[in-house]
Amino acid sequence: MSEITLQIDGKQVQAREGMTVLEAAQSAGIFIPTLCHHEKLEPYGACRICTVEVEARGRTNLVAACLYPVEQNLVVRTRSEKVDKTRKMLLELMLAHAPDAAELQDLAQEYGVDKARFEKESSFCILCGLCVRYCAEVKKKNAIGFVDRGARREISFIPEIASKECWNCKECFPLCPTEALQAAFLLTKALTSPSPPSAPE
């Protein structure tokens, strides 16, 4: 494995080929916020909150740190006016769905989100896909998946699988940054194990 030197926030950082900017930053103790990233899972690049500014071959670009591969002499800025502005807007967009999520609230404070500009549509889910991917990649059960696409995309437990697998696992619950997962599961549970026809009192 060849050694690569890059610069993150003015600091020289050593990394190995094939590492991402996020991994290199983490190894050097430099913090980059993430929401959809999990070290046990394949990089996904959906929440974009890890957006950083990179300078390579004379061009400056915004890229997702969790995906962008390190290269020799790469210059990375984890905070800049543009990065902060982008993260702020991304947070505002996500907060419209999960206004009470603690993780989002903390970041919102950091990036100066002071008022809600977007109408609340509390689906509680920001579609980070941690549950879906954890179930598929680690547990290999596929008990939860995405349905539909675009603005209508949502997560849904697959009742046939969920009714067998989930009750004793629930390992995805603590991964959820917004607690939407629990609500989705309770709904599925109610649907898959309906209470017996209510007898007259």
Binding site: P43, Y44, G45, A46, C47, R48, I49, T51, L62, V63, A64, C66, L67, Y68, P69, K82, K85, T86, M89, L90, L93, M94, A96, H97, R117, F118, E119, I126, L127, G129, F146, D148, R149, G150, A151, R152, R153
Partner: protein, 642 residues
Amino acid sequence: MPKINSPAELEKLRKGILSRRDPNKPCIAVCTGTGCLALGADKVVAALKEAIKKHGLEDKVDIKETGCPGFCERGTVVVIYPEEICYLQVQPEDAEEVISQTILAKKVINRLLYVDPTTSDHAVRESEIPFYKNQMRLIIGSNIKLDPKSIDDYLALDGYSALAKVLSQMTPEQVLEEVKKSNLRGRGGGGFPTGRKWEECRNAPGEVRYVIVNADEGDPGAFMDRALLEGNPHSVLEGLSIGAYAIGSHEGYVYVRQEYPLAIENVTIAIKQAEEYGFLGENILGSGFDFTVKVHRGAGAFVSGESSALMTALEGRVGEPRPKYIHTAVKGVRDSPSCLNNVETWANVPLIINKGADWFAQIGTEGSKGTKIFSLVGKVNNTGLVEVPMGITLRDVIYGVGGGIPGDKKFKAVQTGGPSGGCIPEEQLDMPVDFDELAKAGSMMGSGGMIVMDEDTCMVDVARYFLDFLSDESCGKCVPCREGIRQMLKVLTNISRGKGKEGDIELLEELSQVTKDASLCALGKTAANPVLSTLHYFRDEYEAHIKEKSCPAYVCKALISYYIDPEKCKACMICLRQCPTEAIAGGKNQIHVIDQEKCTKCGTCFEVCPSRFGAVRRISGEPVPPPIPEEARMIARESKEK
């Protein structure tokens, strides 16, 4: 059919086919592309066959069901060889006359010809019709000359000669150099240099390499790839095979959307024929080169036209873009180097090989070579597929080829590049059609959609339409695209409903920037273009909607009203009878009045009010005058008074 084992055998076969064809034998070519089929081309063919039978001409006249020649506005298109007489809007009822007059009596039927709207001159041949005359039809011109289900037809037009040349006379490196030298750029959207993509794929590490045809065309109003794949599938396969040889690939795919059944049918037949003849398969033309092609039907998601999403879909998974900072040419299908090019790009390749890169590179501009096929649609007289040399001005396309705007309306904008493109206004019409120029104007070449809009188009509504499309078609994976589009659409919808507020334009700009900067794939990165370009060129229209609650084009229903001018109304009852919601009060000799509560703003009254009265007015941005009192509504008609 025994396999063809060498270029010499191919030439022998071609000579055989040509010698069996009498160039003077009448042949009636009927477009049976999807557009003309929808107009009943199959019935025209049946009627022609019937008439031929009736006259006992079965052996004397050929009938050919061809692909789309492009003049969809005037379908069903029929061309009669050898004279090349071009009949438009042919109906089954015309069949008898076509046979008895044109075939037997050698007379041209005037009423089926193209009539020039200004000079009233009749054009007999295709090449005399301005729509065709002003084009350069290198790629699509063959469509009307061949039956896409017949490989012999393709061979008769010199088909597979480029493949034979490449396999027998050129090394893969030479092919690559030739394509690089031609400066061919991808016709699917981004305009990436094709030769460089091929080279990157060829040089990428890996055992297996794939070449793929992108036929996932999904832009609203675009159908050029469908017409090519339907109309001349062998030309695409030949280009693909040449690319495979240059890149070192032995497996190819045609990724075509399920909504294109005829394209799927024709390309599937073409593959089978090419395998039988030995243009696909093992040891092609005795060269030792092996190459097979499979058709993959896509489920019809717009985002699957994006390279990494297409490849994910090809692997059998949901078509979502992959996180990538590595080109699919290096790591694509099943992580192998994969070269994806658009239908039209592949179709250009045989031409470049046959005529040479130098010939190709002399067509077009410095940065954009060759021709480009556009779907010219919207408010333009000649809608259809047009192929023009790069560098032609937008004005020449819209007015020269397209015949201008119907109904003496004023041109307002042309939208190029589909949902990722932008709207270009009147003052930029002399801009040359060129990848870089279009991008500079805030639009893009895209795959070649060209939607012409006249003065009755509201630009806020146009932006809203495209964002609505994208909010359905985004895969929904990443936040900036999914949520950015969702919020931009909300703002635009509010503005068009009269709920726009101060700061909306700035919010749109801010959302556009983040969507552009932070999205995962090209769909998201370009999704804001319809908003940004309309904001750039038509900001005043946004401001009118927001500040004056007025829609200057009278499109946004929430902002317009219809009003009958009591001074002009002659109580003719026409609008009153036609109003679908019975919102118009009045009667004989009684001035008509619109009940604004009941009115759904369909505009029927405005359209049907006789122009000599012109009593119905559209109002936007100002209050509707109160209805005149009932007692004042009687019209005294002196002549009719007793």
